[in-house]
Symmetry: C2
Subunit: 233 residues, 2 copies
């Protein structure tokens, strides 16, 4: 299988969000991620291997500083819209760092959270750093953009609690946690924004050790601690 | 306060580990981190502010793509050697990613772990990405390089358990965890190396949700889940 100049140009354009949006496509690299894409429900548009297209072409299409031996172009799933799901779901309010976003999706997958809702100012889900950090979980966890205040209202109307972490929340380790509901995690610097916080009816705190000088946890780390508590109940 | 060409050259050299090692110095940037350095026991060699030295000089000494308004050069603490400590300690076996290392130090600080032992192939503790990700915890948590198999032996001889996470370990949520001991976390790709694993007498597993397709957790995330379990006991 060879590659045309037009294909190279199109694949390279997917480094930019505007072209990912326009074409509805994104790039995954590396043997493991490409295998995960092929096994998933996602439609794979094409797979390019270094041994078939040569080092020079691979270097041009790869987004990594050391090009991997294989790259796939994958179609995004249809945006399903925020259908309300029973079970435990996650809502991310302005998670800006792609590494954090990918790690949170990986963590959600591990702990059995099947749907992650994103505010429109989160990092782009199809940013290559998000894909890499998700370690393939991007193909298993459903991610949907949502108006978070509205989503929270609907979750509560459906009789489920909305959780969030706050410095003045209640000790996570001593709270009774439910099997269903929504957990909101906020922006790296500013936390959950006020319009969303107003909809949180179960305010939680991950208590620091007495005398700790740390002011906060990294948001991906905090998400893991919270989901672990739900999982262990 | 102005800055000389020789100072600029010396500060720039601290981007490289060999010069950080040779001078015993490292750089911190940003108002919050510089304040933490000044409040800490670390000796601060100098502080440079943009309004004093000008934009051009700041751009030359800064290691960030957008230079922060303030930069400090800080002396490393004396390497104390791996004095055995009571309480819960952490040992990192080949953590290569600077972001992971910094995040783990921040997490250790939050959960009250005061000493983190590092194998000699971990990322450099004074790498700017480690410092940034630690969010100042680098100034509060004692980090010491150690021969991990030897350290584990000494911990066990002192009557304390050595914990580690393994895919065939025992369910973390159902184990009785002690207030003292050592928790070993392994390399991002290959986990805990065999010579160290042989010294772990309490093998733990963070259980995935039934049906999860994820193969593992990010190591900083896994560290947070494990330390949270010790903290909540």
């Amino acid at each position: 299988m060879s590659i045309t100049q037009a294909e190279i140009k199109r694949i390279r354009s997917l480094r930019e969000k505007k072209f990912r949006d326009a074409y509805g496509l994104f790039v995954v690299e590396g043997e493991k991620l490409v295998q995960e894409a092929l096994r998933s429900d996602f439609r794979v548009e094409g797979v390019w291997r270094r041994e078939e297209i040569g080092d020079a072409a691979m270097e041009r299409i790869s987004q990594l500083s050391s090009p991997s031996p294989v790259l796939a172009v994958v179609a995004r799933p249809e945006a399903a819209g925020p259908v309300l799901e029973r079970g435990l779901c996650l809502a991310l309010d302005g998670i800006r760092d792609p590494g954090n976003l990918g790690t949170i999706i990986r963590t959600a997958d591990w702990f059995g959270v099947r749907t992650v809702y994103l505010s429109d100012d989160c990092a782009d889900l199809y940013n290559p750093k998000v894909i890499q950090a998700s370690m393939g979980s991007i193909f298993r966890v459903r991610a949907a953009e949502a108006d978070l205040p509205e989503l929270c209202r609907r979750v509560r109307e459906a009789g489920m609690p909305v959780y969030g972490t706050f410095l003045d929340g209640r000790d996570l380790y001593r709270e009774a946690l439910s099997a269903e509901g929504l957990v909101v995690m906020g922006n790296e610097a500013s936390g959950i924004r006020p319009e969303v916080a107003a909809q949180v009816d179960r305010r939680l705190l991950i208590p620091a050790a007495p005398g700790s000088g740390a002011e906060s946890l990294n948001v991906a780390t905090a998400t893991a601690v919270v989901l672990s508590e739900f999982r262990r109940r």
